[in-house]
């Protein structure tokens, strides 16, 4: 993965010193809370319900073992010995003290970690496919471009006070595991007829109160032109995006109100202005960046030995479950992509304890070239595990509660912090998640249900992407009471689609029962091993509505 050079480190150091001074000025009363707010938000520091929250950037989800150990350390020293993986691949500390932030940031900086641009109305952390570089369906590795855009967007002078936050996702594969259509800008790797690399540009996607899937702005821009293209789009947004109402300030509202064609015209006009000062990348720039993401030194394995091993281990049904659910095909024969599950009914989805982080760091070094990736599903991926080591790895993961064989099942719940921590939330989300996980804690049952996504958001801001879940749950406030609205039929990937609201909302206590009815309805109509989303597509929402709201006695 990309290693910081002296310039990256000095830049980080200067920003850290400036922020330290801003905190001091705020404490001394020289900088008002109001004026401090946008500055601290751009440094990922929120003042939350219980305590300040600090969000640490994980650029396109990549972390190395040293960084994991540093995160374990800061969580232990400055928080309650755990942290939380967000749906944008970042890491949150929910219980920090503001006066500790300078020394916390200093510790993070030693491992080239920081919290810059994880909040605020600026270009946020770039997200990508957690299987980048190892997926079999990859057109090309998106990470060099992620890093180019990371460097370009970090401290971008023109785009730090946009109408609203700005999220960019980049996918290099046929299957869109980065949900590019749900981002302000999504870039999807593509080749033109001359087999030259470039990107399809999708603009104006987003969830929140007004969920909209992005529209295609250009079907192909050459890889060299990405910075110019991004500059043009974001400048048009900065100049013409709404600022009078923060709920209408995202780029999706601008694109929707003027239409994609007119938006495209404005971007093209801006591109003409940019041309004399172009930031066109050279082939050498891109090649040099690619050298930061070399293929690791993969080993060659004896095929018969592999086959034998697989045969012995798959005799263990528990291992087989885990193998089938939590490991995926790797582009190199003899390797698998392994997802460590951070979902069990013992802790909030996506929470990881310091000692688990240390174990993951050790296992990454032992089995996966010392690197891991965070996922927007709030899990952790070891991308390069030799098949011959899988059994050994699995046994180690079990000891640390990281081997739940539930990836992609109903128990792999994506969940925001909700009312427990977040000052935006209307309702609790974690207790609802835990109750549902307990309802479906029979692993064989969850396993038989197959692929089924269930996401829970504590408010309209939709941090858990509930619109894109097969079963989405949204916490709403009804005259001071917490209620939950359920939507069905959302999906992410290929294709990405928004769910439909089932009907009137339910009290928290009713939710697990309603989910159970939805699942029973699915099973009653399921043909063969059909996935939930396919049954839903076939029978439609009406059947589910009837089962939930008009039960026949």
């Amino acid at each position: 993965m990309y290693q910081y050079n002296a310039q990256d480190r000095s830049q980080l150091e200067s920003r850290r010193e400036i922020f330290e001074r801003q905190i001091e000025r705020n404490i001394e009363g020289k900088l008002s809370d109001e004026d401090f707010r946008p500055l601290r938000l751009q440094q990922g520091l929120y003042i939350q319900r219980q305590a300040p929250m600090l969000r640490i950037a994980v650029p396109y989800g990549m972390l190395d073992a040293k960084q994991l150990r540093t995160l374990a350390k800061v969580a232990k020293e400055f928080d309650k010995s755990y942290c939380h993986i967000t749906t944008r691949q970042n890491i949150q500390l929910n219980w920090v003290q503001i006066q500790d932030v300078p020394s916390l940031l200093k510790t993070l900086a030693q491992a080239n970690l920081h919290s810059i641009q994880t909040s605020g109305n600026c270009i946020r952390n770039i997200t990508s496919d957690p299987f980048a570089g190892v997926a079999g369906d990859e057109i090309f590795d998106p990470r060099p471009y992620c890093e180019i855009i990371r460097q370009w967007s970090l401290g971008h002078p023109e785009f730090a006070f946009l109408p609203r936050k700005f999220k960019i996702a980049i996918s290099g594969s046929k299957e869109d595991r980065a949900i590019t259509q749900a981002h302000d800008i999504g870039l999807r790797a593509t080749l033109n007829s001359q087999q030259e690399r470039g990107f399809q540009v999708i603009v104006g996607g987003g969830l929140g109160r007004t969920p909209i899937l992005g529209s295609v702005l250009s079907s192909f821009i050459p890889e060299q032109s990405i910075l110019d293209y991004l500059t043009a789009i974001i400048r048009v947004y900065n100049l013409y995006g709404r600022r009078d109402n923060k709920y209408k300030a995202r780029i999706k509202i601008l694109v929707k109100s003027i239409g994609i064609e007119q938006f495209k015209q404005q971007v093209e006009q801006e591109l003409v202005h940019i041309r004399p000062h172009s930031q066109q990348l050279s082939v050498e720039n891109i090649t040099a960046m690619m050298a930061h993401f070399p293929s690791p030194a993969y080993r060659q394995f004896d095929q018969t030995q592999l086959a034998q091993l697989q045969a012995t281990h798959t005799e263990d049904p528990a291992f087989l479950h885990w193998f089938n659910r939590n490991t995926k095909k790797h582009k190199v024969h003899g390797y698998r992509i392994v997802t460590l599950s951070l979902k069990n009914a013992k802790a909030a989805p996506g929470d990881v304890r310091s000692e688990q982080l240390e174990v993951i760091a050790d296992l990454a070094e032992r089995f996966s070239f010392g690197e891991v990736r965070t996922t927007h599903q709030q899990n952790i991926v070891l991308a390069d595990v030799p098949v011959i080591d899988l059994f050994d790895l699995w046994q180690n993961l079990q000891i640390s509660d990281l081997a739940a064989p539930n990836i992609g099942t109903i128990n792999d719940i994506i969940c925001c912090p909700g009312l427990a921590f977040c000052s935006l939330a209307n309702a609790e989300s974690i207790p609802v998640a835990l109750k549902i996980q307990k309802t479906f804690d029979d692993l064989d049952y969850a396993y038989e249900l197959g692929d089924l996504s269930l996401n829970i958001s504590g408010c309209m801001n939709a941090c858990s992407h509930h619109h894109l879940a097969n079963i989405g749950i949204l916490g709403v406030d009804k005259k001071g009471q917490q209620f939950y609205q359920i939507s069905l039929g959302g999906a992410k990937g290929t294709p990405t689609q928004l769910g439909k609201i089932l009907g009137p909302s339910f009290a928290a206590s009713a939710v697990p029962g309603i989910i159970e009815i939805i699942i029973q309805t699915y099973l009653r109509h399921r043909q063969g091993l059909e996935r939930f989303i396919d049954t839903y597509a076939r029978i439609g929402i009406a059947t589910f509505k009837e089962a939930v709201y008009e039960p026949v006695n």
């Binding site: 050079n5 200067s14 920003r15 109305n121 370009w152 401290g155 971008h156 023109e158 100049l239």
Partner: protein
Amino acid sequence: MNLLIKQGLVLEDPWVKINKAESPLTDYPWFSLLPLTTLIEHQKWPLPQAWIGAWFETGTPASLFTQHILDLPLLSIDVQDYTDGRFFSLATTLKRTLCYQGELRIAGNFLLDQMAMLTDCGADSFSLPEGSDYEHALYILNNSPRANLHTSTRSTPQHTNSQVPYEPEYTSR
């Protein structure tokens, strides 16, 4: 009196801002900073005074900057609300798209902490209200990391003597 920060120095500001021009434009003395809205209505160019500037608000469209305006020695963006970041793009547009050669100034309600970024967008000077913490302003200007607008100089893993294809234009100032 407002303080002026320009080229790393704290100076007294020779310019006088005229909020509303009520006399004929030709009557104003040198170093008058007049509203852009009045200047664009003016017919007879050039003005007899060599040193006249224009001030305008954050949301001013770029199309209003005709050549007469761009020939003025001072253009000053009057920021009303520092969270309305259009002035960053307006500054960039003036300096880069419209190639404005004179002094681009930022005045009004901006944050001292925004000054380094504004410099990277092309601002040449800053007008600070009386009582501002100019030491902090200078600290921000001198200690902020410069923008990374070109990745070309930084993307090579081993530092080679490869030719840098693009000068980082924003940072050469």
